[in-house]
């Protein structure tokens, strides 16, 4: 037996979010979705920068949310008739040089060919705009070259990644980018240019995942990360939306965060969005939407069959057995139920079958 015989194209329950954006869908949890959407919509139309904390336990969907709201079509829909945002997903830096690592991740994520054509399409007086957005003559010159169609993009990208300035010295680039200040200045000036009068992009959205890892950095890296966040908000004071994903754990509780964030950063936090453990209603809403999403099922099942191949009382029993736990644990349990049903040739997952294999599904608690 295979999964198609359960009227599904593939197993919808994942333990870790997919990297392929086509496989990232949103199911259930309308309140969280709305809160994030509102934040993004607000930033699309209003020119100020905000810092938002997404807070929840392991496996509560924060990473998934960051990937979902990075999808081009989702951002286009939120922008409606406005200019679309430019969104980048970042992993929390693991090296002893965290600012450089974040900077490199940002440069890695940017398609400079596309950016060049968009910038040149929107600005006919680029130098004037540069003069407004930064006083730093080196950064100004780097950005001018970056968006000059006559210049070889490979050479400038090499320079951005820490390559020698010698090849560019005749064009006014007289030193290497080396300090954290350089990286921050370049990033914030680039962001300011891209969102200037919301012409190329309406807002830059940065998601930093696993921000709780700030608690396992050494003291100098903690200080550098704080400076990075503070400088981003200060220097790109318009049109930047920064989401920090934080997992609440034995390593890091909500009260502990204050010890790692400097006052200057804490005071910039505008909202805390909580990814709570799902209750029974939320979970059933999630399951119904997930199982019947076009990604997994061409024609949705409705009425008493809306959770097919699961019977509703099985779902109630799993919720009762697992209790107050994370969405990832529920995904794991339903995934196992589904895989077992395929293995045992069961087309309908009813309470008798669940009781039969319950110990394999729930396991040690």
């Amino acid at each position: 037996m295979n999964i198609e015989q359960l009227n599904l194209k593939s197993n919808p329950f994942r333990l870790t979010p997919s990297i392929d954006s086509k496989e990232i869908i949103w199911a259930g949890f309308p309140e969280i979705k709305e809160k994030i959407e509102n934040r993004i919509k607000r930033s699309i139309s209003i020119p100020n920068s905000s810092l938002i904390l997404n807070w929840g336990e392991y496996g509560s969907g924060k990473t998934h949310a960051s990937r979902y709201f990075n999808k081009q079509e989702v951002l286009e829909e939120l922008a409606d008739t406005n200019t679309i945002p430019f969104s980048i997903n970042l992993s929390f830096p693991k090296s002893k040089d965290p600012v450089k690592e974040l900077y490199t991740q940002i440069i890695d994520r940017i398609n400079f060919d596309e950016l060049r054509s968009r910038v040149n399409e929107k600005f006919h007086n680029l130098k004037e705009v540069m003069n407004i957005i930064t006083q730093n003559t080196l950064i100004r010159q780097v950005l001018c070259l970056l968006f000059d169609n006559e210049e070889d993009l490979i050479g400038i990208r090499e320079y951005l990644y820490g390559g020698s300035f010698r090849k560019l010295s005749s064009k006014g680039i007289i030193r290497k980018l080396s300090s954290d200040n350089d990286y921050i200045d370049l990033i914030t000036s680039l962001f300011s240019l891209l969102t200037y009068e919301k012409k190329v992009y309406s807002v830059i959205i940065l998601w930093i995942d696993e921000f709780e890892d700030i608690s396992i950095l050494n003291t100098s890296s903690i200080s550098n990360i704080n400076s990075f966040v503070r400088s981003l908000i200060d220097k790109a004071s318009n049109n930047l939306l920064l989401f920090l994903n934080l997992t609440q754990s034995a390593m890091m509780d909500v009260e502990d965060l204050g010890e790692y964030l400097q006052e200057a950063v804490k005071s910039r936090i505008k909202e805390r969005i909580e990814f709570n453990m799902p209750n029974s209603l939320e979970l059933k809403e999630y399951l119904e939407e997930l199982l019947n999403n076009p990604l997994y099922r061409d024609k949705p099942c409705t009425g008493s069959q809306r959770f097919y191949p699961f019977e509703e009382n099985v779902i109630d029993q799993v919720i009762k057995d697992l209790g107050n736990t994370s969405l990832r644990r529920y995904n794991e349990a339903f995934s196992l139920l589904l895989e077992n049903a395929i293995y045992d040739g069961k087309k309908n997952i009813d309470i008798a079958y669940y009781d039969d294999i319950k110990s394999e599904i729930i396991g040690w608690k």
């Binding site: 994942r14 333990l15 870790t16 392991y58 693991k94 002893k96 890892d213 608690s215 396992i216 950095l217 050494n218 003291t219 890296s221 903690i222 754990s249 034995a250 390593m251 794991e332 995934s335 196992l336 895989e339 077992n340 293995y343 110990s359 394999e360 396991g363 040690w364 608690k365």
Partner: protein
């Protein structure tokens, strides 16, 4: 009176990896420190093999050779007799740094007529030799966290802010591999379960490790890991993965102890004589 201190390889390396401008090193060598030849050799050898940043490697390797004057050699007859005694008492066959540190601890204790401190971050070794220290009334076995606290209260220029800084930097060293293990484990767990869909005990033990990692419950992590290690034939891939993180439970234990110490410092100050 300053009591003798015996240092194990991991404590020397852990202290030096978080040191800046010889702040800790200078305080350490002012104490009555003692090391055995194996520890001296291990420290100089491990700096090349363990995972240090380039700066740490440079710093450590410029300091470990300077510990040569602190090497202690036991009387030959004593060594012969008590090596066998420790091996039998502790059912321990390896002749490594921890073993010889225990031997010189006994020797120094009797020579100097005083109890002493042996600092090691090797948790399994601590468990093995604890009973011998207790039985022979040699002194106490502590770790780098205990040593940092001692350096703090015994030095007027070592303030609480600095202690918290060094503890955070030490935490970072242990927590980074712990977090990496956690992330990799979660990534692989689903695949291991799907491949063994009907194996209830496999899932049960993977769950134990996951719950243990999330709640810093080392007993649970240890139980789960032991199951796969004891049945390496059936779980070759899982065992290989777990073997690549041999010290993970100890890293977690150190993280937890540092967090508890930092948290206690806020509520219960460690008494320090006013200058």
């Amino acid at each position: 009176m300053r009591l003798p201190i015996v240092l194990d390889t991991c404590t020397i390396l852990n202290l030096l990896r978080i040191d800046e401008d010889e702040f800790l090193y200078k305080k350490l060598i002012k104490l009555k420190i003692n090391i055995c030849q194996s520890v001296f050799d291990e420290a100089n050898r491990n700096v090349k093999t363990k995972t240090f940043s380039e700066n740490q490697r440079k710093y450590i390797s410029s300091h470990t050779p300077q510990l040569a004057p602190f090497i202690v050699r036991c009387d030959e007859q004593f060594e012969k007799k008590y090596k066998a005694c420790i091996q039998e008492f502790c059912a321990y066959k390896k002749e490594n740094g921890e073993f010889y540190s225990t031997l010189i601890s006994l020797y120094l204790c009797r020579q100097k007529h005083c109890r002493l401190y042996f600092y090691t971050d090797d948790y399994p070794a601590k468990c093995v030799f604890d009973s011998f220290f207790n039985y022979q009334q040699i002194g106490v076995i502590g770790d780098t966290i205990d040593l940092l606290v001692f350096l703090y209260w015994s030095n007027p220029d070592f303030d609480q802010r600095k202690l918290e800084k060094y503890l955070q930097n030490l935490l970072s060293e242990f927590a980074t591999p712990f977090k990496e293990f956690h992330n990799q484990f979660i990534e692989k767990k689903g695949r291991w379960i799907t491949r063994n869909i009907k194996n209830k005990i496999l899932k049960e033990n993977l769950d134990k490790i996951e719950h243990g990692l999330e709640g810093l419950n080392f007993e649970k992590i240890g139980e789960g890991m032991a199951y796969f290690k004891n049945d390496g034939k059936s779980y070759k891939e899982i065992k290989t993965f777990l073997d690549s993180y041999l010290d993970i439970n100890f890293s977690g234990y150190m993280v937890s102890k540092i967090k508890d110490t930092v948290s206690s410092l806020k509520r219960h100050p460690i008494y320090k004589m006013p200058c």
